[in-house]
Symmetry: C2
Subunit: 361 residues, 2 copies
Amino acid sequence: MSSSSSRRRDVTVADVAREARVSKAQAARALGAYGAVSEEVRSRVLAAAAALEYRPNELARSMNTGRSNTLGVVVGDIENPFFSLAMRGISDTAKTEGFDVILINTGEDVAAEAEAVRVLLDKRVDGMIVAPASHLSVGHLRDAVDSGRPLVLLDRQIPDLGVDAVMAKMDDISFTAVTHLIDSGHTRIGYVSSLDVGSWSSGQGMGLGLNPVSERLAGMRRAFHTAGMSAPNDLIRLSAGKPQPIREIVEELLLCPDPATAIIASDSLIALEVLHTIQQLEMRIPDDVSFMMYDDMPWALLMTPPITVVAQPVYEIGAAAAKTLLAHILGRPVMPETLVFHSELLLRGSIGSPKKVTEGA
Amino acid sequence: MSSSSSRRRDVTVADVAREARVSKAQAARALGAYGAVSEEVRSRVLAAAAALEYRPNELARSMNTGRSNTLGVVVGDIENPFFSLAMRGISDTAKTEGFDVILINTGEDVAAEAEAVRVLLDKRVDGMIVAPASHLSVGHLRDAVDSGRPLVLLDRQIPDLGVDAVMAKMDDISFTAVTHLIDSGHTRIGYVSSLDVGSWSSGQGMGLGLNPVSERLAGMRRAFHTAGMSAPNDLIRLSAGKPQPIREIVEELLLCPDPATAIIASDSLIALEVLHTIQQLEMRIPDDVSFMMYDDMPWALLMTPPITVVAQPVYEIGAAAAKTLLAHILGRPVMPETLVFHSELLLRGSIGSPKKVTEGA
DNA sequence: TTGAAAGCGCTAACAA
DNA sequence: TTGTTAGCGCTTTCAA
């Protein structure tokens, strides 16, 4: 009645020790593979453990080693392919070192992010990877740093914090991409991003701009200046969160008196909404409007025409973030403060010349 | 030097108790909001905690409550939008009850899945959600059940296990979908799935077939039989894992002597590869080949022509799985053993009539 | 309502 | 190489 079905009460080291007729300490040493144990004892303990179907209680173990072998990951939206792919990079890398991952989704909400960081700290994760929603409220990140547990930022750097960040360099590629659009004859170029207004955009002049939004904007501005123009600020929309707002924004951009002739989407989720709106407006790419997006999703190649994209090595970015974090945790030599990956502009068919304006010039 | 920067050594209940001049027990009660505490003491303790920036050690708490407020989730591939969307459903639901989620990715590998379940058990999660890779090796799932901690299966049911499962009903919709293809004149219909051969397919005749693969095949067979034909077994390919195999399979299906005139993809990742291959073969949808896929990804609507899909309520399935699991954990009334959602066939432009065969009938 | 003291399951000094 | 004995930080009897 109690032989094979090991219900309820867990088997502990004490049980194993008794079964193997050794002290609890010896049993623990054998099971935990630490300290000195004679071959004799080791095999007896292991046999007893197997017979009893002993499983260690990792909570108890963590409690006195101070290590949980767990990483915390905080992202804005796991549904965003950028994050789910990065997550796989993180997860795969963590697994090779025997670490597991607790994932928390914030919906790009700063309060939720703060709560998430707090929870992870309380759960005693060994370190965490955060894609911060804002560089303005970073108290919780500072707490993380103060706790002494390593923190690595993903996709966005916050200079004052003094922590490592892993991300793709965005200003040069943005310059290249926008220059390509300008060379194709576009001057009315729209940019639609999901990050909250004020969370990152305020630091236009100040700061190092080590985040996707300001880097891309900087590259865009530089491209326009280089071409002897200034960027069309009225076409740069940084709020866009949920579907509805994006549609409205795109309609505005496309139907206003001096409309955008090209649109850049800051990520694939935004891109889907932009494309959907363009479709509903019955406009054609690239005849009526040119289009470009960040992140090389597989479907971009399958569209008619195929979409021109900026491809960043997302999986690798995630993997590198995990690798950096693990280096800190395991006391290995660590790479420079900000690890930068490079992106590529993949030219395809979604960019053409703007339509002749009805009158003027 | 040690005032605001709370470095290293954590503040414990003992510290708070001392600061508040009460016993450790009273401090713990006040902080944990349990037991009886006078208003007087409670406020003193809370004030002390705030002053000391006390943060509970959830590990220690879990260790003697036996509850970790953590759910484990084991999926085949978080990069698959099906799972990442379901994950959001799980994560959102868990959060409303104050639970966090540990995510483990198995790459649809049974051994990795077994290891994952073991790790989660050792970490003392309060319950877990698993999308099992196979119904043949389920020892680890049985261990989970034996451990007494609730388990809920996602997207696949394993009848003998006696645990709850949440999934979309697939046979009827498969029947409907294939019938639609047959009515359009197709008899050579290919089906490409990612699940390993033998993991699920073997139970053709036996078992309840409560898993996506066999349900879909059953519906497909029924559709053919109803139309007085038998299903084209040579066009049903169940192995397909990574990109390369899928391409080869699709080329085979499309270039063999008596080729498929329509292809069904079992999920969106497969669909992308199939579409890519069709594109490289310079074949046109639906003129050269008709196409249909499971899961209504946003991009399916944007393709030219828009893709006909079977849409299942993925987010809701994830949310329901979490809700069911939480019900078990919290001792609430639980729903029936297998919770079934319904899917819809969304007819769009990717299905046409097969090309006239060069000769014969 | 309070406090002292006994665990939770494990690791880690310290002796033997 | 062993065993004894303390803890880790918290909850939870049990008396007071």
